[in-house]
C-alpha cells in the first residue's frame, strides 16, 4: 500500500553528466516491487516530482535523478541531512512472473530510464532468471549503473549514439549487432526507444512509460494514456504496460 513518509537524504553524488544518485533513509515498506516510483516533494515547488526507484532495501532507498528542469535542479541541489517527504510505492511495477523461471530476461534502458533496471535486475536474479542488460546513452559521459548491473549478475551491453563507448547506435542496434536473444524483455526510456523495441522485438515484453504527472496517485487523471484496453492512468494502472497494450 502506498504511503506518505519523511525520509532523510543521507548522501548525494554525481554518477554521470547532470545525473545524481540520492540515498535516502526512511520507511520503505510502501514499496512492493521494481518499476514502482515515488513522488518527491521539492522545496519551493508546488507539485511533487515522479522519480523511479533505482534500488531499495529495508530502510534505504536509492533514486537517480537527471536534471531536466528547475524542479529536478532544485532536488539535485539538496544537501545530506535534509528531510524529504515522499509518496512511496506508486504505480504497478514490473511483472517478474511474466518471464518464466529459468528463462532469459533482457532488461533495456535508455538514458535516465536505466535507473529502475538495478532493482529489477536484482529481483530477476533472485528469482533465478538469466539477465542481459542493454543500456543506451547519448555519449560516454552519460553512462551510469554499468558496474552495479554487472555486480548484480547481469551481462551488460552498452550502446552510445555517438559511439564514444560500447556499440555505436541505439539499443535496438546493439541488440541486432550482438545478436542478443531472450525470452522476455523489460524496458524503460524515452518514448521513441520504447516504440522501436515494441515494434521490432519479436518476443513478449513490457515497458515503463513516462508522462508529466499531477498527483502520481491516480487522483487527478492528468497522465491518462490511450491503450488497446481503453484509457489508463500512467501513474496508477501504469507506468509499466505490456507491449501489446500500448498505442503508438
Amino acid at each position: 500500500m502506498a504511503t506518505e513518509r519523511t525520509f532523510i537524504l543521507t548522501a548525494i553524488e554525481p554518477v554521470a553528466a547532470a545525473t545524481w544518485r540520492l540515498q535516502l533513509s526512511g520507511d520503505t515498506s510502501g514499496l512492493r516491487c521494481a518499476g514502482q516510483f515515488v513522488m518527491v516533494s521539492v522545496p519551493e515547488f508546488y507539485l511533487r516530482r515522479p522519480v523511479s526507484v533505482c534500488d531499495c532495501e529495508p530502510g534505504l532507498l536509492t533514486l537517480i535523478v537527471k536534471v531536466m528542469g528547475e524542479g529536478t535542479a532544485a532536488l539535485c541541489a539538496l544537501r545530506p541531512g535534509r528531510e524529504i517527504s515522499l509518496l512511496c510505492g506508486l504505480g504497478n511495477g514490473f511483472d517478474l512472473s511474466a518471464c518464466p523461471k529459468g528463462k532469459e530476461a533482457m532488461i533495456i534502458g535508455g538514458g535516465v530510464g536505466v535507473a529502475p533496471l538495478l532493482l529489477l535486475c536484482k529481483q530477476l536474479r533472485e528469482a533465478d532468471r538469466h539477465v542481459t542488460a542493454v543500456l543506451g546513452f547519448n555519449t560516454k559521459e552519460d553512462i551510469f549503473l554499468e558496474k552495479e548491473l554487472e555486480a548484480a549478475g547481469a551481462d551488460v551491453i552498452v550502446a552510445t549514439a555517438d559511439g564514444s563507448a560500447g556499440c555505436q547506435g541505439f539499443v535496438t542496434d546493439a541488440i541486432r549487432m550482438c545478436v542478443l536473444k531472450s525470452d522476455y524483455f523489460y524496458a524503460c526510456g524515452p518514448r521513441p526507444m520504447l516504440k522501436a523495441l515494441c515494434t521490432q522485438l519479436r518476443q513478449d515484453g513490457e515497458v515503463s512509460t513516462e508522462e508529466r504527472m499531477g498527483c502520481g496517485a491516480g487522483i487527478c487523471y492528468g497522465c491518462t494514456c490511450q491503450t488497446t484496453s481503453g484509457p489508463k492512468r500512467t501513474c496508477k494502472e501504469g507506468p509499466v504496460f505490456k507491449k501489446e497494450e500500448l498505442v503508438w
Partner: protein
C-alpha cells in the same frame, strides 16, 4: 469539545471539509490513503452524458503556488457513474455524495440530472458550468447569466435533489451569475472553479499543456476565492461551498468567515493525498486556539 458540524442547506455535515470535484477521483482513489468516512462529504469527478477521454497530454503545468490542469473532463460517462462508480463508493462510504455533472448544452445537463434522479445514493447535484478545459460548453455556459439560469432551471425541473451550481471566477462580476442561478432555483452555489491560465515553455516556445490553456488552482488563488465567496454569500441567501486554494485548517475557518457554509479542498489533495484528513484533524486544534466552539454562522466583525 468543539463541534465541527455544519449545515449545507438541509443536509448536516459532520465537518465542513469536502474534497473538490476532480481532486478525489470517484472516491476509491482517496480511500487507499485514509478512511474517507471522516470527510464531511465528497464531490466526485465531473461526469458528462457520454464517456470522454479528455485532452491530449501533457495536461499538467507547475506554477508558483499552484498548478494548471487541462484534463478536459475525462470521465466514463453518466451511465457508468451510476452503475459502477457510485455503487463501488457506497459500499465503503456512508457520508453524503455530491455528483458533479457537466455538459455542452442545456439539454446535456438536463439529461445527466434526469439520470442522476434515479440514484438514491446521490445526495447533492453539483452543476459544473465552469470547466475551462472544454470548448463550446463548460465555462462558456457559466459566463452568461441567462445561460447559467437556463441550465439551473432545466436541472431543477427534472431533479428533486439539492442543486448546487459551480461558478467560474472568469467573469467580470460573479455576483450577477450567482443571483441569476439563485433566481432560477439553485439550492446552493460552489464558488469558485479554476482560473483560466497558461504557461509557456521558453525552450520549446510551446504552451506547457497540450491544450494551450488550462485551469489554474492552488494556494495562489485562495485570496480570489475568499473574495468571491464573500461577495456571493453576502448577495445571495442560498448556501455556498467555498472552494479555491484551501490547504490548511486556518484557511477553512477563513473561508467559513467569508460566508461559506462548507468548504471544498482541491489541489492540496494532489500534492498530499492525505490533505483533507490532516485538515480535519487540525480543525479542532485551531478552533480551540481561536476560542471557537462551533463552525456554524461564523461571521466577520
Amino acid at each position: 469539545m468543539v463541534d465541527l458540524s455544519v449545515n449545507l442547506g438541509d443536509i448536516r455535515l459532520d465537518n465542513p471539509v469536502i474534497p473538490a470535484s476532480g481532486t478525489c477521483g470517484f472516491g476509491l482513489e482517496l480511500a487507499e490513503w485514509y478512511d474517507i468516512n471522516m470527510l464531511g462529504a465528497i464531490s466526485l469527478k465531473g461526469t458528462t452524458r457520454d464517456p470522454r477521454f479528455g485532452n491530449a497530454l501533457p495536461r499538467i503545468a507547475e506554477c508558483p503556488s499552484g498548478l494548471i490542469n487541462s484534463v478536459g473532463l475525462e470521465n466514463p460517462g453518466i451511465d457508468k457513474l451510476l452503475s459502477e462508480k457510485i455503487p463501488a463508493l457506497r459500499a465503503i462510504y456512508h457520508k453524503p455524495i455530491i455528483a458533479n455533472i457537466s455538459g455542452f448544452s442545456v439539454e446535456d445537463f438536463a439529461f445527466c440530472a434526469e439520470k442522476a434522479e434515479s440514484c438514491p445514493d446521490i445526495d447533492i447535484l453539483e452543476v459544473n458550468i465552469s470547466c475551462p478545459n472544454v470548448h463550446g460548453g463548460g465555462m462558456a455556459l457559466g459566463t452568461d447569466p441567462e445561460v447559467a439560469a437556463a441550465v439551473t432551471r432545466a436541472v431543477k425541473q427534472v431533479s428533486s435533489k439539492p442543486v448546487f451550481v459551480k461558478l467560474t471566477p472568469n467573469v467580470t462580476d460573479i455576483v450577477t451569475i450567482a443571483r441569476a442561478c439563485e433566481a432560477a432555483g439553485a439550492d446552493g452555489l460552489t464558488v469558485i472553479n479554476t482560473l483560466l491560465g497558461m504557461r509557456i515553455d521558453i525552450r520549446t516556445r510551446k504552451p506547457v499543456v497540450a491544450a494551450g490553456t488550462g485551469g489554474f488552482s492552488g494556494p495562489a488563488i485562495f485570496p480570489i476565492a475568499v473574495r468571491a465567496v464573500y461577495q456571493v454569500a453576502h448577495a445571495c441567501r442560498i448556501p455556498v461551498m467555498g472552494c479555491g486554494g484551501i490547504s490548511t485548517a486556518e484557511e477553512v475557518i477563513e473561508m467559513l468567515m467569508a460566508g461559506a457554509a462548507a468548504v471544498q479542498v482541491g489541489s492540496a489533495s494532489l500534492v498530499n493525498p492525505l490533505a483533507c484528513k490532516e485538515i480535519i484533524e487540525q480543525l479542532p486544534v485551531v478552533m480551540e486556539r481561536l476560542g471557537l466552539k462551533d463552525l456554524k454562522q461564523l461571521k466577520l466583525n
